[in-house]
Point group: C2
Chain length 138, copies 2
């Protein structure tokens, strides 16, 4: 299985363990002349009277040689999906899924940290080996 | 010559024709734990008593099969360089150089247009064949 798919499946399993139902794989989005596929769509019942919580998750592996290069792409992609979701599916909250190692080694550096704060990038930090969600960072 | 270098050189020549002096090729930036290389740094005298104008330019070719994929990367890169320049070289204005064909065919779609507005991405639109600057869009 390609590395990309291993991480994709790890996040799917982690979400299921966390009580989420995978509703879209991928989640198709179309807005402003561009078609997009966010990796996953998921839902979870909060309470009978409050309805359910809906998310879209873009899975990143950060296994390539350059975290900063992968981060450029991920940031641009997050902001693009964010705008499209606001317009087309405002009830759905977008997350960027990043492995716990990348969070520890790269995302704590000042530059990515500041960019994540400035542009309100929500992170879902996952453990790809244990296939569990480590932290939701919003 | 690689396609990347052809576009890089076209923008260099276009800037020179426009009265700019290329001062950095590439322009090295370091901030927040990350080293970066913006494609070009340039300066132009405005008036003897007002000093000079300084820019940094990241050159994009948009020759790949997917403009939207290249745009993800370019947007993330622009925002990263923008933050680093604000901190380290606040006098220098950042531009993303895009070929006139890409501007006409992709950048006028609603999604990229809205992202460019929302995140204040400054564009330098160039003609790669004539090697001239077509428009500064800020």
């Amino acid at each position: 299985m390609a590395a990309k798919d291993i991480f994709h499946d790890a996040v799917k399993h982690a979400l299921k363990k966390g009580g989420w139902t995978i509703t879209h794989d991928p989640f198709f989005l179309s807005f402003g002349g561009v078609n997009m596929y966010v990796d996953l769509g998921a839902e979870r019942i909060i309470a009978a009277d409050r309805g359910d919580e809906k998310i879209a998750v873009e899975v990143k592996s950060f296994v390539g040689p350059s975290a900063t290069t992968e981060f450029n792409f991920a940031l641009g992609q997050f902001l693009k999906y964010q705008l499209a979701l606001e317009e087309e599916h405002p009830e759905r909250v977008l997350y960027l899924a990043v492995p716990v190692d990348a969070e520890r080694e790269f995302f704590r550096l000042e530059l990515p940290r500041r960019l994540i704060e400035r542009y309100n990038v929500r992170l879902l930090i996952y453990d790809p080996e244990e296939e569990v969600i480590v932290k939701w960072q919003t």
